[in-house]
Structure formats: structure tokens, C-alpha cells
Symmetry: C2
Subunit: 362 residues, 2 copies
Amino acid sequence: MVRRAASDNGEPRPTTIRDVAAHAGVSVATVSRILSGNYPSAPATRTRVLRAVRELDYVANAHARGLAGASSRSVAIIVNSVVSPHYAHVAQGVQTQAAVEGKLCIVGTTGGDAERELATVQLMRQEHAECVILVGNVVADDAYRERMVEYARALALAGSRLVLCGRPTLGPDVPALVVEYDNTGGAHAITSHLLSAGHRRILFLGRRDGYSTQESRIAGYRKALADHHVPHDPGLEVEGTMERGEGYRMIRERLAAGPRDFTAVFAGNDLIAAGARQALREHGLRVPDDISLVGFDDLPPAADIDLTTVHVPHEELGRTAVRMALQRARDKSGAPEHVMLGTHIVIRDSVRPLIHADPPAR
Amino acid sequence: MVRRAASDNGEPRPTTIRDVAAHAGVSVATVSRILSGNYPSAPATRTRVLRAVRELDYVANAHARGLAGASSRSVAIIVNSVVSPHYAHVAQGVQTQAAVEGKLCIVGTTGGDAERELATVQLMRQEHAECVILVGNVVADDAYRERMVEYARALALAGSRLVLCGRPTLGPDVPALVVEYDNTGGAHAITSHLLSAGHRRILFLGRRDGYSTQESRIAGYRKALADHHVPHDPGLEVEGTMERGEGYRMIRERLAAGPRDFTAVFAGNDLIAAGARQALREHGLRVPDDISLVGFDDLPPAADIDLTTVHVPHEELGRTAVRMALQRARDKSGAPEHVMLGTHIVIRDSVRPLIHADPPAR
DNA sequence: GCGGTGCGTGTAACCGTTTACTGTCGGCTA
DNA sequence: TAGCCGACAGTAAACGGTTACACGCACCGC
């Protein structure tokens, strides 16, 4: 069947590689090769083809390319939410590196729901993204883990690499790359900072179970206490989710329940710290004069409220994830499988040395 | 050529629709129809096919689908940056609505650069996204506008709809949908709020030229002054970009330049307001006791600093953009082309009535 | 008993690329 | 001058779906 020329019927359609080939008087293979770049071609032909591309305003169809070619030229990122600064910064890193490598960036959100996360991974599987970057924690029961392992295998089979970004591995024999950051070290450092300032009763606000980043942070907190020979009081670890409102609630309830038995607060992230700060202020306690407060993440609220916190290299995390995955696609053997990025504390103005011992009530 | 079965050679590959068809003992057409949903099919066949899909862990190849089918099932959003709360919230809305409609979400970032924006639109054109949502302002020279119009036509030709989200239209005969929000009304309302509290000398912090949202906001500010018969002093309009640091800088420089000649500050957005607030505080001026301050956007920093501001329905903006575009894809005639979303002021604690007239120095 | 109807399914063309395999041609070597 | 080689370019077979068209068959009314 003869192919329609762009002008021979009423309905216009986007120009295809065949139109370009015809216009330049060459075959489609030649056009394809010249556009792909790295094939030998006569300068004259090359010029003719490029001129045809320009004159016809041709852009290649990504679906056809993805179908025929080996690679989809796209990178997928799956996060809890796009508005949460933590994820947004990682996503920014992913997007940046994707652009550098000439890849498209696809995003999916889960709202923290394990079921939606699994569904989104399937979606990305359909898409044959070159890599699927999973960011953030979900509470993982065994059924979830099992299905995720199955999906990880399927992804590997389809040629895309799964990258776990700041979350626990799936197991030794599951094909996945891991890029994480030093939660324990950061928590240790900032707890030590408080301890060095004389604080002994430090309230920890966050999650204890199921969320690996929080578990690591609390581990760092405990280890710092131990290293400084300060007895560990489980009663100082308060449980709450990672939102601003929860920080507010935790402090409110704690202060309502009895006399204050702590001189410093270590919030599991900056959002919680912001909420906690508000509750403290409403209770007449000013940071840092009356009480010291630190957070974790070094994200927007932190600078605004002069919070001493732990800096997490969020964008670098995203960039590294993409880089690792694509590097591994090129060179199966030489590329790293596991990267740990460092963290460091950022000192602002939310900690004061403890002058005289504030005797704990409890 | 006979098609390989999944097991007949060493290299495994993802299962295709043919594998499913073979496994279920039907033709590929039947599988495709059953999976697409809306075709009549015998219950027995249907069950067999679905079981085969499950047993073989089949997922359709999105590229093949996009190539063969009419629609790409994807939605594209192009923003300045993913970390900026304004864009992040719009993106969240887009993502949410895309998920509801079963579409994939592709994101591109421009960093505010017109050239990158154009390149990103081309990228989305390759992708044949069902709609391309452009958010945010760029300074538009004529060359830019001309190329964008050309791209808009090309997008329309390829069957995807361009949506301009909170940015000026491209012209009457350019195929594009527009969804915007009431900047002028919001600025008018919040300026009136200050005026009603007795303020007469209100410093405006923001951009005057080239950025349509800021231009609309300043127009609302001026109109409110006029409506309240307050003389307009161009000297009270301070020029700066939309970052936090700029708010800080503008206030610093203003206060350093001479005696304070204003009793309230209207910041072009909340970020600027946060920066301004810090500069004011460092200058010994407390908000709201010594000076009133309002912002625009109602984004995260606003609640933290108790800022009275204008609420912009960011997520709704994103959702509406997707909904409009897809609705229009279904029904070319009946769908709206232009939507204006309302804004309203949110009163917190950053404005105080002016008790006695603070005589302007200038 | 026969054409009509409609449901359910199969056949195969097509979507727009990439790329393995062939072919051509000019120039160089022996 | 024959033979070979390398540089370019063309032919056509994939890639994995969707869907127009054709077809078989059960059931209907006459």
C-alpha cells in the first residue's frame, strides 16, 4: 500500500521519518542513522537530511523508538508525595540528572500506601523505564515484601534497574541497587552536639517501628547517649508520625501530662521540629533560650526557624540514583551496587548550653 | 518466522500478549480486547485469559500501546522547579488527577529558562503526551513567543492539548487551553484588608515587568488603593525576584536607605514575605506589633510564620488543567477553554490595625 | 428450511522506529 | 587489470500492541 503524503488528504498528521526520507531523497534507515548520531555518513547526505528535518519540523515518535530500540530513554521515580520537601528535593535531583543524561522523567506517587506503591511499580514496568527509583518508607509486611521482590525480578527481566533510595534492601538475592545516607551517623552527631552542650534529658520525637530511616536515627540517638555514658530512658522516646501537626501534638500532650522532664528536644525531622517549636512557644518556652531543639533533614522550615539540624544531601541522593542505574546499564560489572552518602550537622541558633542542671522531675 | 516460546532459548524476555494468547488458547486480538475492557466476550474465555495473564505475570508494553493505539495515556507537566512549593503543589494536583484518570505523569523542569522550556516542550511532543501543561512564568520575548506558537500548533496537530496554567495566553488563534487564578482579585482583597486596618503607606515587594502573575498582583494592589482613594506612590513599589533572599534584601536596602516611610508590607509571595519578616526582625521591627505584613500564595512558610495571605488553589489548578484537557479530548465542542479559579484571603496573625497615624517621613 | 441478525472470535494490516544484513561503488594494492 | 576493502546507503524484518474486517455459529421469524 502506498503511503500517503502529508498533503494528499484532508486530515493532517505529524510528519514521520518516512516523510523526512522522501523529502531528503534517502531511505528511512539513513535518516534514522544520521539522527541517532554515531554512524558514518557523507556530509552532503547529512546536510540534506538535517535540512529536511528542519523544514518538515520532524520530531521522532518516542513510542516507536521505545518499541524498536533497546532503551526507553526514561527514568521513573516513585515517591510518597511531590509536595513534601524531602521527596521534592530527591525528585529534583533525579530530574536534573535525567535531563543531563537526556532521559525523560516519569513520576508516580503513593501517598505512603504500600498497595499504591506496588501498583505504581507495575505502571513503571509497563513503561519500561530504564530505572525505577523508589524513595521513602512504607510499612512493610511480609506479603508486601514478597510481591515487591517478585516485581523487582520482573523489572530486572525487562531490563530496568530498581533503585532503593534511602530505604532498606529487599534481600541478598534481589536485583536492586541501593543508595542511602547516613541516618545513624547524623543522629549520633547531633545528639552528641546536645550532650556536649550539657543536656542529659533529650526528648526524641519520631517513629520507633517500621520506618527504617527513623529506626536508624533513633539508633544513632541511643548510641550517642551510650557513648557519653548517659542512661537511656525509653520514656523520653515519643511516638508520632512525621508531619508538622504531630510534632505539635506530641509536645502538647507531653507538657500537659506532667512537669517538664527534658531540657532539649531532638525531632525526627524538621517538620516535626517546626510543630514542636510552635507548641513549646505556646507553652511559654522559647527556643533556644528556655529549651534547645534540633531536627533532621535541613529542609526549608529549618532555615526559617533557625534550626540546628542534620543536613541530608537530598538532591545528591536523586542524582546518584540515576547515575548509578544508568552506569550499571552501560557496564554491568564495574558499577557500584550500594552507595552510602554522608550527612553533617548544620549549626544555627536553636541550641544553648545548659548552665545549671535542670533537675528532671521524673 | 516462528515466534520463540518463553522457554526455548537461554535468554528470558518479558512475556508478551502472544504468550498470553498461546497460554489461554485464544488469539492476540481476543486478549487485547478483553484487557481493554469494553468488548463483549464469553465469560469462559475471559476467565481463561485473565488467568493466563496472572500466571504469566503479563503487563502490556506501554510503547507498543502508545504506538498502535490512539492515545499515549500520559500527561506532561513542565515547571520551573520541582522543589518550589508553588510548582510542587500544582504538580501534585496534576499527578493526582492523572492517577484518577489512569494516566501516567511526565515532568520536565526549565529552571525558568525560556530556551529550556521550549526544548522541554519538544521533548513532550516526542512523547505524544495527551496534554502538555505549562506552569509558571518566563520572560517572553517575541522570538520565544513565535516559537511557542509554532510548537503549540505542532502539539495540536499531534493530538495533544497545550494547557497554560497561570500564565498569559499566546494569542487568539493559538490552540491552547487556559486555567488561571484570580491574582488581581486576591491582591485587591488583601490590600483592602490592610487599608481597612488603617494602613496608608503599603510597601509592595515583587516584580513589575514581564511576569504576568506579579503584574496582575500589582494591578490589584493599585486598584485597591484607588478604590480607597489613597494616593499611589510608585516609590513604594520595590523590585526584586521571587526568592526568600530577595525579600530579605529588599527590606534591608530600604531600611538602610532612609527612615521608614511605610507601616505595612505586601510581599508578592509568601517566600518574599518570610525573607522580609526576617529582615524586619533584625531591624528591631516585630510583625505584627510594629509593622504589618501580608503575602500571597498560602504555601508552607505562611502557616509557620502566622502570615495573613491570599490562598491560591494550587492543587485545584493542576487537577483542573488535566481534567479540562482530557475532557476536551473526549468532547471537542462542549468543553471549556478558559477557566479562572477564585482566590481568597486567609487571616492569620500578621496584621494589626494602625492606631495613630505614623506620619510618613518622605 | 432459509435468510437475517448479532455475538464472539480470528486474521492480518498497521503504528513509526531501529538495525542486521546486503548491495554498490570508488580507490587501492599486487 | 583483477581483486579486495571500506565507506555509505538501501531493504526489510522485527518490536508488541490495536483494530478493521471477515467469519462461524446459534437462534430467530416466516
